[in-house]
Amino acid sequence: MKLIPCPHCGNRAQAEFVYERTADSVVPLDAEPDAAVAALFARANPRGVEEEIWRHTYGCGSWMLIRRDRVSHAIEWVKPLGPEALP
């Protein structure tokens, strides 16, 4: 099984993690309607590298940002994600 390096727990089985959404799809609370629609519904959906929000749901429960290739599944980096990192 694929391993994902959790910033808190180290390498853990991918089954412990849940994909949430892409990093650019968090809607700021004061967003204008157009920006909110874009954040909610417009995806680059690249056949390549993308930054995504994942959660170690069945582990420590922490949120993280993962930069990952969507074809090879190779992970470039993982960063912890907290309230201060959100827009």
């Binding site: 694929k2 949430e20 629609v37 874009a38 417009a42 959906n45 056949r47």
Partner: protein, 418 residues
């Protein structure tokens, strides 16, 4: 194109069956077409077929990156049904189902459509209420739906676990008898042969690498075999809709995810219908060759890899074994995956785009196969009239920003919550 018939087969018996011709040509791309369809899957080929047959538009190219039948049209679990709750969906899929019923004759190609019944099991009172509601919603639209008791289900599918210790006890079911399966390869080949016979160019091993823009208008495509000008460009690229649309500077409400399927060794008939359930997400049917075909959830995270994670496969198999314990004695022969374009309300996207001359037919999630003839017919109608057909109007690309999603499951805007 010579017509396939019992007589031609018989005649062939006297000359060593030497009369067989390739089912479609392998032409070089021309420099210009009225319509260029990106993607030679079921939907692209069906669109080309109906464009030529119904609307007389034959200067059409279907451009396929790989080979015909190599994408999702050859990777699905071949299920055909129209048992939907929301009217826009049931109207669309019923239109498609009616085409399935005459498809083999229409194409002069046996797609082996087998209306063996699409059975949705209920495991609780809540399930049975939901199934009754869905059945009612179908019935008022004239679509066949029958609510079955536990005893009736036992007669149809005796191999299911009806014990009270069952992990998922069976309380009853809803069945659409006109639903069933078809042979997916034959659907691709039949539509390809049909479209070709009207003069449509099917160009394989030709990848679209860019869009040629003239202001806000798409006037052609750049491909690995040169530039092709087009009056209208239609995207039918399934899992690759997103990055094809990106070539025209568009971002779609779509995430591409992997969906897996698997098949066991062949056995004698043991699963009569297509077995689905209201609570679980696994669907089981038996192919004409005898293999038990399984499908389950997508992997729930974006991927273009065409290979799935074992965890998801195990989940589908666990659910299947809980329903039909006897399956535990079978060996799995093959498993595979396709890239599906998961839309944000679970419904397809058909219609115009913000670019002139560019149309889209995508967002099929994991339900595109059953839509193949209907999608092709209605998309061709829309392209020919340059206006979306009334049945596909609810599936416009701008429905999300207008706040009018078609959310059959009521699970909100994120495809991985579906």
């Amino acid at each position: 194109m010579s017509k396939y018939s019992a007589l031609s087969l018989l005649r062939g018996a006297f000359n060593g069956q030497s009369h067989w011709q390739p089912a479609w040509r392998d032409p070089e791309p021309k420099t210009s077409y009225d319509v260029v369809i990106i993607g030679g899957g079921g939907h692209g080929l069906a669109t080309a077929y109906y464009l030529a047959k119904v609307h007389g538009i034959t200067n059409v190219a279907v451009i396929e990156k790989g080979y015909i039948g190599g994408g999702n049209v050859g990777r699905n679990t071949t299920i055909v049904r129209s048992n939907y709750r929301l009217e826009p969906l049931s109207r669309f899929y019923e239109f498609s189902l009616k085409l399935w019923e005459g498809l083999s004759d229409d194409l002069n190609y046996n797609v082996m459509f087998s209306p063996r019944g699409a059975l949705t099991l209920g495991h609780s009172d809540a399930d049975m209420i939901q199934l009754a509601q869905k059945g009612d919603a179908m019935a008022v639209q004239g679509i066949d739906a029958e609510l079955l008791t536990r005893d009736q289900v036992m007669k149809i599918e005796p191999c299911l676990d009806f014990s009270r210790q069952a992990r998922f006890p069976i309380e009853g079911a809803m069945i659409q008898w006109r639903g069933g399966t078809a042979r997916h390869d034959a659907v691709a080949w039949g539509f390809a042969r049909g479209a070709d016979s009207y003069g449509v160019d099917i160009i394989q091993k030709c990848e679209v690498t860019g869009m040629v823009m003239g202001g806000n208008r798409v006037v052609g495509v750049e491909t690995s075999r040169g530039r092709i000008n087009a009056g209208t460009v239609a995207i039918c690229a399934a899992g690759h809709s997103g990055h094809v649309a990106a070539m025209a500077g568009l971002k779609l409400p779509v995430e591409s995810q992997t969906l897996q399927a698997m098949v066991t060794e062949g056995v004698k008939p043991m699963v009569q219908t297509v077995v689905m359930t209201q609570s679980l997400h696994c669907y089981i049917s038996q192919s004409d060759k005898g293999g038990i075909v399984f499908g389950g959830d997508p992997d729930n995270w974006p991927s273009y890899a065409q290979r799935g994670q074992p965890v998801t496969m195990e989940l589908a198999v666990q659910q299947g074994l809980a329903l039909i314990p006897a399956l535990s004695r079978l060996r799995m022969l093959r498993c595979w995956a396709g890239v599906t374009d998961m839309s944000f309300d679970g419904s397809p996207i058909i219609g115009t785009t913000p670019r002139d001359g560019l149309w889209i037919n995508g967002g099929w999630c994991y339900g595109g196969f059953k839509a193949t003839p209907g999608s092709g017919y209605l998309f061709a109608h829309s392209l020919a009239h340059q206006r979306p057909h009334a049945i596909v109007e609810p599936f416009s690309l701008d429905r999300f920003e207008r706040g009018s999603p078609v959310d059959e499951n009521g699970t909100g805007p994120f495809p991985n919550h579906r």
